[in-house]
Symmetry: D2
Subunit: 241 residues, 4 copies
Amino acid sequence: MVNVLVWNENRHEQKSEKVRAVYPDGIHGAIASFLQAPEVQVETATLDEEQHGLTQERLDQTDVLVWWGHIAHDEVSDEVVERVRQRVLDGMGLIVLHSGHFSKIFKKLMGTSCDLKWREADEKERLWVVDPSHPIVEGIGEYIELEKEEMYGEHFDIPSPEQLVMMSWFEGGEVFRSGCTYTRGNGKIFYFRPGHETYPTYYNEKIQRVIQNAVQWAAPVKRERPVYGNAKPLENITVKA
Amino acid sequence: MVNVLVWNENRHEQKSEKVRAVYPDGIHGAIASFLQAPEVQVETATLDEEQHGLTQERLDQTDVLVWWGHIAHDEVSDEVVERVRQRVLDGMGLIVLHSGHFSKIFKKLMGTSCDLKWREADEKERLWVVDPSHPIVEGIGEYIELEKEEMYGEHFDIPSPEQLVMMSWFEGGEVFRSGCTYTRGNGKIFYFRPGHETYPTYYNEKIQRVIQNAVQWAAPVKRERPVYGNAKPLENITVKA
Amino acid sequence: MVNVLVWNENRHEQKSEKVRAVYPDGIHGAIASFLQAPEVQVETATLDEEQHGLTQERLDQTDVLVWWGHIAHDEVSDEVVERVRQRVLDGMGLIVLHSGHFSKIFKKLMGTSCDLKWREADEKERLWVVDPSHPIVEGIGEYIELEKEEMYGEHFDIPSPEQLVMMSWFEGGEVFRSGCTYTRGNGKIFYFRPGHETYPTYYNEKIQRVIQNAVQWAAPVKRERPVYGNAKPLENITVKA
Amino acid sequence: MVNVLVWNENRHEQKSEKVRAVYPDGIHGAIASFLQAPEVQVETATLDEEQHGLTQERLDQTDVLVWWGHIAHDEVSDEVVERVRQRVLDGMGLIVLHSGHFSKIFKKLMGTSCDLKWREADEKERLWVVDPSHPIVEGIGEYIELEKEEMYGEHFDIPSPEQLVMMSWFEGGEVFRSGCTYTRGNGKIFYFRPGHETYPTYYNEKIQRVIQNAVQWAAPVKRERPVYGNAKPLENITVKA
């Protein structure tokens, strides 16, 4: 059983009828809906809940956290961000979607600005699979095509991905590292580019499949955590002059 | 269901009573025995079988191939080696154990000499986990200690591992990259250092657990294979002067 | 002083007036010409020379080998390929250009098929820099644009690059990992995509700059080579029961 | 010309006669002394200077910053740490030594806890070169031996190094990833383990050579920085229904 928590800022949905029309149950609702599966337990949380819905107790019960945020990154409290980061270091998987590239939690885990080029122009995106051996692309063909998406372009200021799984082509002339994995401590992180709030991207079955796969991939490994600090020697040490 | 084929050179077992005493069913028998599990089907093959037991049909039915060889690397036919390589590129997982570092198949997939330092001196090895997030070390503590093993020391002439999972400390003063993952084409490869033929290493439960985990990790991803060669454009190309 | 040897198959130039019109001194001549510099000594060699111009003595004097080949990969003798490989493992830098992706030497060092999609359609290529910290892109802007080039598309069947420096966008809808670094033994390898024989790509100053930078990056490190084989212990080993 | 700034906390030197006996000019003095070279300009700065000696102007003139800190990490102001981080993202090289693993700047750039095992027991350390192709080990043999050092042991909670150059063996039974490279934005980072304040490690010529090499490796690449934010299309975008 994998316990998934889908976190959404849930602000565009409040402010914009256009977004509400695309995601009547919120982006979190749409994502939670397709993640439901026999061995997957899914819940949601949003920014305006107490502690953003991310109490210590709830995070402790979460195996994989999915993160969507955009216009209210600054409203996420530093305390909660640090709590999430500690849980990732402790083993919780983290899937950061689209504009979450600029979330406090992603920037803190990466150490870089996470900046990029962007453009809203209803343009075509084609995500090419460059690592065909990766479990995150199980069931995915050579590429995923999205008729209209926001453009994100290089340079994307992230640390070099540990595994680069997908790369995007954009109609307007740019490319982007769109599916990137990282490890931080005991935790696994997947950044996945698509998902602008005005497009029905999260209803695309291939996009859904990638996120479903990523949940399985990011689930924590079951083992005792490393011990740090002062350590007694395991072997005899020669006394030296 | 994961179909595993454990391949062993099976020569030390014929020649040496000492080895036979440790592995009465052969190293392949010992490995096959602990890999048996509800969702894992295990068979074995050895060098002296027709085509080394590695016919095209059998490889086509294999999800993960485990490889142990040492004194007869040169007797493995180039044709079979190339057949195995094609299956790895096609998605079959490959787990190369100990002296398999010098096997034709590992060297061909790595592109380097795969050379190293070595010594048989009944010395202690301690394998430290350096990637606590990796599924290959599920259930494994901070390190695995082997009272007596052959030493393998750096420089180990391999391409930089895509993921370095374990590093060994040796009593005689050396270190070694002991658990290394690679991808080649659609296939995943894990090199795991321990397992000299005169020591009961493959009866160690932690060593068994690592290889069991590696089988799951290396199982092929289910997806259509990439298409290569001449490709029609997906977008209109402007005719230029 | 860096000693560079530019190797070219030099067959298109013999067969095609169109290619000759673009590269009257051969592709090797064009490349050698822009690599000349105060601290760089450049020579050329071609397929039809004795031993393809790649004798042991000459390779021993070479710091960085640049490789261009396309229609005659099979005519390169296996013996010479193995000789070049040994020199790379020994520290010689290797820069593989464009259709050299299918050369025996590149495939042997990579371990994979090195296959890809391709198309000749006079289309635009834009190479985006994705690693702005890399010395290979010193002096290069955000991207290099080539008005007409052959398309190479993913999936490119190479091991995951150790450093991915550039990614290409193609007019027809594909992307490609265009600037990739590897290490093999003591040697450094750079694969650089552009350079179809019918286009004046190697006269583009930015393309020239990348190759000039790559020569400096790939030059061998001066140090004693690792020692392999049986090794005496550096520390006392306890005698065990 | 490479402009190097050696930063030292300089507190042990004030408090401990033992440390002062080893480093009468401070650890920064010792390091600055061996980094002086014809094409290298070296200055020093310490914690107790105004703004820790790390004003914006001074950082802007610095190509490579060397960092040694231990007991006063918390006294480094967050503002200065962020200033240093921005300069790294902008291209400044950063060499983090020994106990600097726990400095605010290293932790912020890594995103992890950077925790480890440690022990002060006058024990032997042997640093093995695992990447013989790397310019940071030019002139270095197979290993560097230090008769007495503090032990640092795995698990070292860092992101997987982009290049793992050296690994340590410790007498007491541990191993450690001792020479690790990273890139963050336009900047290059090298973490190098040795250098406890009570040992004469920085007088060891091989240790000096590694740091000298690292300065050259980490020097910024000369190119215009990437542009971020809203971007006009480079190609026509089809208007869609």
